[in-house]
């Protein structure tokens, strides 16, 4: 872009400075609604074509309920599923919901000395708050959220234009399966919505990072946070 001090009105109109880009929350909302719309529209796969003449919605509904109860009962009867995949879904839902509501932060500050004390009195632990902005992940704020039956602290960071939410909460001593006494290596997964997640344990805290940035950057973020909290 040339840095002329003057341009013509025509150039100004065309240079993009008047262009209104869609906010991230809108993007998320549109995608969520399209998903819901798809779910409503597509007939249940187990609803064979011989049902078409009848009452397809009722048929689909009954089949759907039937399948759901089957799955539910299976879940009850088998081993409890690994906690992390339920938890993973909770994290994804909470993250997306926060983005959709455009109320992603309760405390808007890039100063870790403002964000950390803000959690006092709101949760019963003190989350370690670091600001790895030197590595390209500045802190932008924090919020309170509710995950796994308890209030948790969420620190919000940014990588370029991608928000990254970092959920931090103490491990349950009773429920831990032994290996989490010390730190564990960050485990990267990808939800089927396309969000990248990392989970790790460190000094008795559980960390979950989630973002729509690609897994490469999430991994780097996790490493930057780990390094920051190790001090």
């Amino acid at each position: 872009m040339e840095t002329k001090s003057n341009s013509s009105l025509a150039e100004k109109l065309r240079d993009g400075s008047l262009y209104e880009r869609a906010p991230e929350s809108l993007r998320v909302q549109v995608q969520a609604r399209l998903k819901a719309e798809t779910a409503r529209k597509s007939p249940s796969p187990w609803n064979g074509s011989w049902r078409m003449a009848g009452l397809p919605f009722v048929g689909g509904g009954i089949a759907g309920v039937g399948l759901c109860s089957l799955v539910f009962m299976t879940l009850l009867w088998t081993q409890p599923p690994p906690r992390s995949s339920d938890l993973q879904q909770e994290i994804v839902s909470s993250h997306v919901r926060a983005l959709m509501s455009a109320r992603t932060m309760d405390v808007l500050s890039s100063d870790q000395h403002t964000v950390k004390p803000w959690f006092n009195g709101r949760i019963d632990y003190a989350p370690p708050v670091v600001d790895p902005k030197a590595q390209g992940f500045p802190l932008v704020g924090g919020r309170l959220d509710y995950v796994d039956h308890r209030p948790v602290a969420v620190m919000i960071y940014q990588y370029l234009k991608h928000p990254i939410d970092l959920y931090v909460y103490p491990e349950d001593r009773g429920k831990s399966d032994g290996k989490s006494a010390l730190s564990s290596t960050p485990l990267i997964t990808q939800s089927d919505d396309g969000y990248s997640l990392v989970e790790w344990h460190q000094d008795g805290m559980v960390y979950w990072a989630i973002s729509d940035a690609s897994p490469v950057y999430i991994k780097r973020f996790a490493e930057a946070i780990k390094a920051g909290t190790r001090q």
Binding site: S8, L18, E20, R21, R27, K41
Partner: protein, 202 residues
Amino acid sequence: MAKHSPNRFDAVMLPHLDAAYNLARWLSGSPTDADDVVQEAFLRAFRFFDGYEGDNPRAWLLAIVRNTWFTEWRRQHNRADATPYDDSLNVDDQLPGWADESGEDPEKLAVRQDETELVHRALATLPVEYREVIVLRELEDMSYKDVAAVAGIPIGTVMSRLSRARRLLCTAVRAAQGGSEQQAIRLVKTPPAGPEESKRGN
């Protein structure tokens, strides 16, 4: 059935989310209305996707955005523009309420880097029918054909409306730049003045 797959719709239409929001925002003037319009438009686009012929997704989507806004929001919220609009007016006739000094060309009117906000406000004051064609042509860089398709008007009307819109915008921008430049000279109750009191404000 493959056509209705959400991935195909996403891949074809989501890249134009910004364009949809930009148009909705400029039409409605409000970020919350723009949000609502875009969501509703995307739902409609998704439902009508089978009827999409396929070579110009942006124009197709923006036409839906425009119609959604026009039929739903404009009617409900009764946003009557201050200036009555009549397409049958001869292009050179003055619109009531507008001091139209024709002859100004956006290519020639200088604006400073820091006057973006001023231009933004000037564009926002244009009657929506003019604002719309400027947004589609200049901001969105659409062909006349596409502008006509989105706005639902013949190509000839696009051209004449654009020409008018550009002149109106120039007038509005110059007025904003010059302060009271466009108004009649005001009598100021001060002693006989020096050059500061000149009618051409800075």
